[in-house]
Structures are given as structure tokens and as C-alpha cells.
Symmetry: C2
Subunit: 420 residues, 2 copies
């Protein structure tokens, strides 16, 4: 197997299921993006023997093994002794590592505690690596024919050390095929539509095409291998852009629909408000999680009850009574009411029935759970509304409705020659 | 090692880092709660050889191995052939399994497609297990001396099959020590305080005491082993309840502060509104994610801009100008304004500076990022307000402020002989 990497993730919280392995997933993604592959993935407890065993097994099949966690100063941290056991050497204090630790503390105006001395221990013959953002040195140990790098489990430290120490070694792995990656974030197209539009790209043997649904959004990954991979990936990206059209979001790595919406509104100089019933604040929460959202989102309304819809948004009582709160006329009135009241350029609204517990809000009209309406109102434009039927568990349903509302807003703004 | 279980998680999305391993974490948690332990944890790609290798390694050290994923109908699903290879037998179609699949489809008024026939294949000599909630049979295979159970990766199917098929086998594992588990959810106490109050319980050798911080909440786990474990765990629970006092939430398994708040308000017959600046809708979103929230939460306000605070909540312009929007007088005015306007029994409010992008909302007064104020207003009671200083990344900061606001509300309501 070419360019294989092993991962050993250390932590009782992992093997007891108390935490999801975000470090492992992050490293696996970076390794895959770099053109290598994760051949072994093992999670182990903070146990010297378990760590040593997993490292040895991984080192037997992969030339590079990355270990995360277990480098803290307390007795629970066993990665140092696990590595020493895997390498068959004793653990010894390294004077230079200790001097480095003392220096880091001194620079922060502090003095290391006695327990921190443990962090200066290294398997005999191993190298310690300076940690650019923390006080725990990383380690580089030879086990059999493999290089083993151990990083602290604190995500910011792990990531910095991965980029500085692991990535150059991954790039130097024998058999690494040059790789070019293009990612596209999309919204408003079901996975099956994405598959239909891009399926034939899979016939190119030099290209790996993947699509990954995330609650109403689909991420497209285009990975080309071998000589000329940059051109192949770029050509595939252009084809995908053309076929996916305005489903493609203006989003950077790790960004989602809310980033694309905030960016678009900023570029157009537009301000948005939200009137949420079934999504219960989720749209506002998604927008305000984006740094700088305050420029485009002065605020919104969560109007769960009928009374709140009347009082805050001016939805007519008669309309609610006649149509029921989960109806197209009501969602239109919500969006238009919010637009007027907040004195902004755009408003979106949601209403629906997420589950049996919501029936109280659904009025007399029988509306099945999983039904939602979204509306988009733009200043001086006709209001658009849409019915959705999504039989999903409560939180997934709310998320899908929120994504759909934001995407309808995005498309409405994109479709208008409008704004600044 | 007593009562050891191996886990093999199958899926390219795992080893490429595109998904977090929620199935693995869920099973690991259930296994640990049952008194067994996860001795091996391997994630592998949809690759016959990799699956077979991981299963064999796990079966060599653990009497029970659980496999998830890779049982779908397409060519990408390789768990069936991986298990056959691990057991050293061919893959054969099982007529009874196919009849069962046809029956499930028939009951839904559908006919299985030709590709679904793959799901009737089993390693020769293995058993297939009916899936109570899906159309993919599970498998039970002997590999060496171990029992290997393979479940579909769809979470609802995996969980149902785990409870029906894996749990009885875990309980029958040789060396399983009887175990009693008590979990307590808490809020409003830092991890260090929890540790200080419960640390001495760790001196009991028959008791494993853990505390796990989740963004402002701390989960306490009390696990007793061996004969009399129920009494030991129950005694520890009573001690912990007494020492943690009203930090303990009225919450069932998997529940968090928002569940405790909704339950408390329902019990007291009280209605709540929210006025959110820095949390941007997160409090409303947390509450409305709880089924039945509509009974106690008619709606809330997201007032990110100064204008929205004035218009929606009636915060005096002069107060905003003189004190700045991130100030104790303003957060009080927000809570009191929301209480009046929404005509409810209780209101909470948040304001703060999550990061540099929010400086526009912070007015003239220089307030460092990571500063927040929360206020709780109860009808006919004096309003309480509190300053928080939490130098955290944006989303974590927002989450911590939301939890703090909900917990202050909870304690204020608990502290009053009030309501229905």
C-alpha cells in the first residue's frame, strides 16, 4: 500500500464513548487531502500496554504513525511510557526539553509545577519537538521501521504540530501520488440530483468524485491523482460548477450556507431579519455564529405562539384562525410583517409542525408532522413561499427547514440585480 | 482482560475524516455502562481485506466483536464479504433471509430491487438476524473463538439491534462484573468545583467517579462494580446530590439544561421569553429543540443591533448611549422590556462581545471580547443580572453564555415559591 499512515488516538473518553473523536477525524481528513491514506485507525484507553500494542501494530504496516493525546502532566497520561514500551527503550528525562518547558513558562511570567517535569521525559533515543502553542513537547520515536509522531490532544496544539511536523513527513512518504483537491459546498439540491449531474465524472480513472450530504447541504469533493492532477481537478471543478449552477455556495473551507448568506448580504449591502416559528431561533443562531453577522442581521423574531405572531409580526388574527398557523398565507404574512417591522431589506419566515409536541401551535387545521412552509420577502418585490414535507426527527427537521429558508433567501437575492 | 469487546467501524467517511464516529461512541458508551470494556477499536474503509483484518485482530483478543456499517445493497458495501474472508468461508445467499427481506418490503407495499438480493448473502454457516426497523439483516459469525455481530450503520437500526442482540451477549460475557451506573447532569458549577466536592468519593475502590465538562455543564458519572454495586452506587448518588445541591439538573439520560428548564416551567405553569443579543437566538433554539417547548415558550427576541433593542424591547436610547450595549443596566432593561412586551412570567436576556466582528455592536464603551452580561426578570420580583468573563472562541462563548442564562433562570425560579 502506498503512502499509508496509521492513527492511534489515546483517551479513555474515546473508548468509553464519552467524546467524539474530532482529532482523529481532523487528521484523517488532512491526510486524505494530502494524497495519503489512513491504513490503520485505533482508539485506545490511557493504558501503557494498549498504547504500545496499537503503536506496534500500526508501525508494522505503515511507515508513519500519528498518535494523539496522553502527553499531559498527570499520572493519567501514558503516551510517553506507551511509546517507550513500543520502542523497547526506557523513559528518560531530557534536559533540553525541560529547559524548553521552563522557558515557555518564564515567557508567560510563570514557573512550571513539579508535575510538569514529566513532560520532559522522552523514550531513550527519541526526539522531542517544540510545541508552538502549548507547554507539552511532542515526540518523534522510531518503532521498527516506522516514524511515530505523538502530539498533545488539545486541538489547537495538535493542529499546529500536525501542519509543522506531520505534513512534511506525509509529503515525503514513499509512493505518495501527487494529489489535487477541489471542494464545492452546495445547497438546495438533493444528493440524488447531485449524483445524477456529476455521476459521469466518475468514469475518469484519475479522478475521485464524492458527494456528502449534511442536513440539506451537499459537499462535493473532486480529487485528482498523478501527473497533471491540478489540471484534471481544475477541469472537473469547472464542469461541476457549470452543472450545479447556483446550487454552489460562495463558501471557503469548512463554511456552510450561513457563511454564504452573510457574505452575499454584505457584498450587496443588504440587511436581513428572520421570523421563526418551527425553527425556533435556529436561523438566527446560524447567522449570528458567523463573525461579522451584526453588519447584516440586526435581529430577528422567534414567534412560536399565535399570539406572538400577531403581536410581533402583525399577522392578522383572522388569517391565523381561518388558515391555521402552518399555512402558506400565514408564512407570507410573517415574512412581510417582519420586513416592515424591522425596517430591513429582506426577511425570511418559517412555520411548521416538527412533532406531536407542537400540535398546540397548529390550530384547528390538521397538518401532518413534518410539514413546513418557508417564505422570503424582499423590499419592493413579490413575496415567495414554499411548502416542504420532510418526515424527519425533530432536530433534523428544524435544521433542514432552516437551511431551506436560508437557501431560498440566497437564491432570491442572487436572482435580483439589486442592492448596493 | 475480563468482559472485553472489540469494535470495528466500517466506512470510508470515517477513515477519510468526513464524519465523526457517532455509532462507535454510542456503542462504546453502552458497553462501558454495562460493565464491559472496549479493548479494541478500529475504523476501516469499505475494503474487504481491511475489514477482514480488523475483525480477525479483534477476535483474537476479545470474545465479542461488534461491527457497524457496510451492510447496504450496493457494491460499496463490503462487510458481508469481509466477514466471510475473516471466517475463511464463502459468501452464500440465504433463502430465508431473502424471504424475510421480501416480506418486509411487501408489508410496506413495495417490492425489493434486484440489488437488494445482496443483503440476503451471509458467510456460509453464519446466522442472519432480523432487523426490527430496517430492511438489512444483521449477521452473527464465528471467527476463531469469538462471536462477531455485524449491524447496519443507520443509527436507528444499529441502536435497536444493539439492544436486542448485543446487550444480552455482553451481559453473558465471562468475567463481567456486575455494574451499577448513576449519572447526574449539573449546571452552574465549574469542573474544578465538582472535582473538589466529589474528589474524596474516588478513594472507594469499588466506585469509579468521573466528571465530564460539556460547555458550561458538567456530567457526573458514578459507576460501582462487584457485589452490592447497586447499594454502593445509590449511596454515592445520595452523597453527590447533597454536595452538589441545586447544581443538579432534573434531567433524564442525554438531557441537558434546556430540558430541565422546560420541565421546571411546565411544572410551575410559567411562560418564558428571551431577549438575546450576543447569543443570537441560541437560547431560543435550545428551548425549541425540546419537544413540548411551545407550552412554556411563546417566542423570543433576537436583538443584535441597538435599534432592535430600542424598538423591540424598549431599551432607552440614552441608556444605550451612556452605558453601551454591553453593560449591566442594558441587559436589565432588555429582560424587563421583553417580560413586559411578551406578557409572560419570566424573561432572560444576554448581551456581550463574542469577538472582533462584534465591535460594531459594542458602542463607544471599550468592552473586551469575551465579556457578557445575563439578566433574569421574573414577574413581580427584582431583576437579577450577572457579568461573565469567558475568553473563548466565538461559538463556545455563545454556548457558555446561553447555558449560564438558562441556569440563572432555573435557579431564580427554583428559589421562589412561585407559579402554579
Amino acid at each position: 500500500v502506498s503512502a499509508a499512515v496509521g492513527l492511534v488516538l489515546v483517551g479513555a473518553e474515546l473508548v468509553e464513548g464519552r467524546a467524539l473523536d474530532e482529532n482523529g477525524a481532523w487528521m484523517a481528513r488532512r491526510i486524505t487531502e494530502s494524497g495519503a491514506r489512513v491504513l490503520r485507525w485505533a482508539a485506545v484507553s490511557d493504558d501503557e500496554e494498549a498504547i504500545a500494542g496499537a503503536v506496534r501494530e500500526s508501525a508494522a504496516v505503515a511507515p508513519l504513525v500519528l498518535v494523539s493525546g496522553g502527553l499531559g502532566p498527570t499520572d493519567d497520561d501514558r503516551t510517553r511510557s506507551g511509546l517507550a514500551r513500543a520502542a523497547g527503550v526506557p523513559l528518560v528525562e531530557d534536559a533540553a526539553a525541560w529547559a524548553w518547558i521552563e522557558g515557555v513558562f518564564r515567557a508567560r511570567g510563570r514557573v512550571p509545577k513539579a508535575v510538569q517535569r514529566r513532560q520532559a521525559q522522552v523514550p531513550k533515543g527519541a526526539r522531542w519537538l517544540a510545541n508552538p502553542v502549548g507547554t507539552a513537547p511532542a515526540l518523534e520515536v522510531r518503532v521498527g521501521g516506522a516514524t511515530v509522531l505523538a502530539f498533545p490532544g488539545v486541538p489547537v496544539e495538535l493542529r499546529a504540530l500536525f501542519e509543522a511536523e506531520a505534513l512534511p513527513r506525509i509529503r515525503a512518504l514513499p509512493g505518495l501520488v501527487p494529489t489535487a483537491l477541489r471542494l464545492l459546498a452546495t445547497a438546495g439540491l438533493p444528493e440524488t440530483d447531485v449524483a445524477e449531474r456529476l455521476g459521469d465524472l466518475r468514469s475518469d480513472p484519475g479522478l475521485v468524485v464524492g458527494w456528502y450530504p449534511h442536513q440539506g447541504e451537499v459537499e462535493v469533493s473532486l480529487r485528482a491523482h498523478g501527473p497533471g492532477c491540478e489540471e484534471v481537478a481544475e477541469r472537473a471543478r469547472r464542469v461541476a460548477l457549470e452543472r450545479l449552477g447556483d446550487a454552489v455556495l460562495d463558501a471557503g473551507p469548512g463554511e456552510r450556507i450561513e457563511h454564504a448568506v452573510v457574505r452575499l448580504l454584505r457584498a450587496r449591502g443588504l440587511r436581513l431579519t428572520s421570523a421563526e416559528s418551527v425553527t425556533g431561533g435556529l436561523v438566527a443562531r446560524m447567522l449570528t455564529a458567523v463573525p461579522g453577522a451584526s453588519e447584516v442581521f440586526p435581529g430577528g423574531y422567534v414567534t412560536y405562539s399565535n399570539q406572538a405572531k400577531v403581536r410581533e409580526l402583525g399577522v392578522p388574527v383572522l388569517l391565523l384562525r381561518e388558515q391555521g398557523p402552518v399555512s402558506e398565507p400565514v408564512v407570507r404574512a410573517m415574512a412581510e410583517g417582519a420586513l416592515r417591522r424591522a425596517e430591513v431589506d429582506a426577511a425570511l419566515a418559517t412555520t411548521g409542525v416538527a412533532g406531536p409536541g407542537d400540535l398546540a401551535t397548529a390550530g384547528a387545521a390538521p397538518v401532518p408532522a413534518g410539514t413546513a412552509y418557508v417564505a422570503v420577502a424582499l423590499r419592493d418585490r413579490p413575496t415567495e413561499a414554499l411548502r416542504l414535507s420532510l418526515p424527519l426527527p425533530r432536530e433534523l427537521f428544524q435544521r433542514r427547514v432552516a437551511v431551506e429558508a436560508l437557501d431560498r433567501l440566497r437564491r432570491a437575492v442572487l436572482g435580483e440585480v439589486w442592492g448596493r
